[in-house]
Amino acid sequence: MKPSRRQVLKALGVVGLSQALFPSWMPRMVFAPPSVQAQDSSNEHDILVVIFQRGGMDGLNTIVPFGEGAAYYDKRPTIAIAAPDGRDTSAIDLNGFFGLHPSLRPLKDIYDANGLSIVHGAGSPDPTRSHFDAMEYMERGIPGDKMTGTGWINRHLQSAAWENGSPFRAIGMGTLLPASLRGPISALAMKSITDFHLGGRSEQLSGIQNTLSRLYTLPTTGDMLETQASSVFSVIDMLKQFSAIEYVADHGATYPETEFGMGLRQIAQLIKAEVGLEVGCVDIGGWDTHDNQGGAQGAMSDLLSDFAQGLAAFNADMGEVWMKHITVVSMSEFGRTAVENASAGTDHGRASCMFVMGAGATGGVHARWQGLHTAALDEGDLAVTTDYRDVIAEILLKRVQNTSLETIFPGYTPNLTDIIASR
């Protein structure tokens, strides 16, 4: 087997899953729900889907402030998105001032149905322009703090008033666990549900699993290696209960063949299978557009297409009944410079924008907008006018029903913006 260009792209997360990379002897376990039953009112907490756009998303070309006129267009001579003019390369009007990047067209119907809220000028109060610090701060939920090892999602699960013994309680779709999930509540990292099983001579597998689990019973209680190993065994056992039918998305939804699309699709699978999922995390990377960012077309446009198609597919797949119990929220570690650079790109900036989709959304673009004139900017960048924690806190309070905000965001009193619908 030769690594083709497709496999290279695959390894980069551009194309689908890695099944083709496995030798053919490996048994295929395809996941199908035992029943597709809509949740009833007994479910009291929204399922949270958290999307992290890694690299720093340029909010100003995502939700385009075309109403700023020259204050926007003069700063971006080659990459600006045209004001809505009917062409499919121009912004899609939302409210006469802001417009969607044309690649976000799949989100327009959802927005029109008030299933999507946008928060512009959102970000972290810490001014670092380091990707790595900014991501860590955001995922820990404690900007500026390098001493706390737990992520905000883990602290949310830890402080929630309810119990949930499912190994699928929280999952990050990928090879590494996102920092937001780090902490004492065991969270899964999983790249592919279908590949999550032991391989070898089939008649020996259960014996091997049994022995392996004993070898991983370690002398020190609470050892992280033992905890993780035991999660693997629980998950394998749980997945065995599902029949081998190819997952087919409902309502004709088509997920993009990307790591992001596949991540969302697998979260949809898990939710419908009712395995106890409370939080699912999916990453979409590549937003560090220092050069050749493109405008209506190009590198960033492709990312936005992936993002929008993924969200739209998830929304369609889950359908109205499920989406009443799901809130999706996106964030990025920072936005980018308001002025484009000489490489037709943008450098690290401050505020970006967040998307809220699903049950909690009330529609609209929410921004404490101060304009793009020099005095309104933060050292040349869109200023953070909404702390990202305000948005999350409101979702946690109103949708997920966790009031322990002082544990989740220690030392911070959220300034709720009242953009999230109550259950």
Partner: protein
């Protein structure tokens, strides 16, 4: 699930992902701390083999370390032969780019395979581990500029991996792959691109807390304007793109009117800055000692770094002969690539690789395919990052598959376990013999009992090992020992 206050507190002081500490990991239980020789081998090599153990026993620890540090004098015939048979790997950039044009897949595969091959087979093991360290430190992902990326590995990282940091930094700053990757190639006086400038200070030299400001980032970008790639895919200084005005960086004035030379001065200043000495030392200690190396060692290593102007041999000699290093047995959780290479080294006499693709792509679901980490900070270097459900699951499968390679479970590879594991008359002996070969120490009796129970269905350690039993169960035993916790720590 409720979490006790004690458990909660264990998380209270963990540092950043890159620098994440992991007080709640308790690996040393599995290390045979009394065995100093094995510890030194675990860290200096990509995984000790019986032959390495024999070598260090003969030489003694200090001589072995010096021998490995003086890598150029170690004959490496197998690597020489491998490279000589693959002309593409030594081609100048233009020829290489033509070869890529003709067959991208072939060249990519070769780039990945040579990386693994040298780690597995080179006699210069410490050197290869240093190459790995700097490959992460100056991370450049592969896809867009495969040729330039391969040249970076060959002509930037390898010549300086145990040389002088200052020279390594300069070579990296002028590497076409780096100039492309972090956009300095397109930076100009009119609009400096600050991508490289920032990572140069944050990731390559001073560290994020090393004392620079946002203004310094822009000023460094201005100093480096015009550093670009010429039309022969070589470093080139474009004087028309350079900013000749005065700059101020970290309190030093860079006077107006200077060209290339001010960039050289800047790199010199960064390479010799005390923050750099500390930052590089802390990363080396994290890689070679523990996820939470003692401050005392970081400080003393940094002072050797400063005193020797970044002589990496002297720095590594200090680190590897320190008491802190010697006391750190079993504290590093093997990253997926380290796990795979260690397994292949220990299976070496019987493991035949005709086509490496399947092998290479076991690293993909484990999240550690060489050259495929996209951000500039390199693959994570702490256990907490890798010790997750996805990583364990795929690591176990790789281990189990490797054991079964003799049964055709690994396309492109063959395994003769009789050439690896000596004969044993009883099942108890077979388990211990196998462990002693793969782990270079024996297994706790409880684990032996578990394995025996699986292999023969009883607790009888004296159960006779027939040829049929050996052929059928040795592959499973090998797979399980490679999958066990004992093989994951170094």
């Amino acid at each position: 699930m409720s979490v006790s206050r004690r458990e909660f507190l264990r998380y209270a002081s963990i540092l950043a992902a890159g620098t994440a500490a992991a007080q709640f990991l308790t690996p040393p239980v599995y290390a045979d701390e009394s065995d100093a020789l094995l510890h030194v081998l675990n860290r200096l090599t990509w995984g000790p083999r019986p032959a390495d153990y024999a070598a260090i026993q003969t030489m003694g620890i200090e001589e072995y370390i010096d021998w490995q540090l003086d890598y150029a004098t170690i004959p490496d015939p197998q690597v020489d032969e491998f490279l000589a048979a693959r002309r593409i790997l030594s081609m100048p950039i233009n020829d290489l780019n033509r070869a890529i044009e003709a067959d991208y897949d072939l060249v990519l595969s070769l780039a990945l395979w040579s990386r693994l091959y040298l780690a597995i087979h080179s006699e210069r093991q410490l050197y290869e581990r240093m190459v790995e360290f700097w490959t992460d430190h100056f991370n450049i992902p592969i896809p867009d500029y495969l040729g330039e990326r391969m040249v970076d590995a060959r002509d930037v990282i390898r010549p300086h991996a145990l040389g002088y940091f200052r020279e390594l930094l300069l070579a990296s700053a002028q590497s076409p792959a780096m100039l492309y990757y972090l956009d300095n190639a397109v930076s100009s006086a009119e609009h400096p691109n600050e991508n490289y400038a920032r990572e140069l200070m944050e990731l390559h030299t001073l560290g994020v807390d090393g004392g620079y400001t946002e203004v310094d980032v822009v000023e460094v970008a201005r100093v480096l304007t015009g550093w670009t790639v010429g039309n022969q895919s070589q470093f080139s200084f474009d004087k028309d793109k350079h900013d000749y005005d005065e700059k101020s960086i970290l309190g030093h004035i860079f006077p107006a009117g200077r060209g290339l030379e001010e960039g050289l001065q800047l790199l010199d200043m960064l390479a010799t800055h005390p923050s750099t000495a500390r930052f590089i030392s802390s990363k080396l200690c994290r890689r070679f000692v523990s996820d939470t190396p003692p401050d005392s060692l970081i400080e003393s290593t940094a002072s050797v770094f400063r005193d020797t102007e970044g002589d990496l041999k002297a720095v590594m000699r200090h680190l590897l002969t320190s008491s802190e290093f010697m006391a750190s047995a079993g504290q590093k959780f093997r990253r997926p690539l380290e796990f795979l290479v260690a397994a292949l080294r220990v299976l070496q006499p019987g493991f035949q690789i005709d086509n490496p693709e399947t092998l290479l792509y076991t690293l993909e679901p484990m999240g550690h395919l060489p050259f495929f980490w996209h951000p500039p900070n390199g693959y994570p270097d702490v256990g907490i990052a890798w010790m997750n459900t996805n990583g364990l699951m795929h690591r176990w499968n790789t281990a189990l598959q490797l054991g079964l390679a003799g049964d055709g479970y690994f396309s492109g590879a063959a395994l003769n376990l009789d050439a690896v594991i000596p004969p044993a008359a009883t099942i108890g002996d077979l388990v211990q013999t196998t462990a002693e070969h793969l782990l270079m120490r024996s297994l706790p009796q409880d684990d032996v009992n578990e394995l025996v129970l699986l292999l023969v269905g009883s607790n009888d350690l004296d159960y006779a090992v027939t040829d049929v039993l050996r052929q059928h169960q040795l592959p499973v035993l090998v797979g399980l020992i490679l999958a066990s916790p004992h093989f994951q720590w170094s």
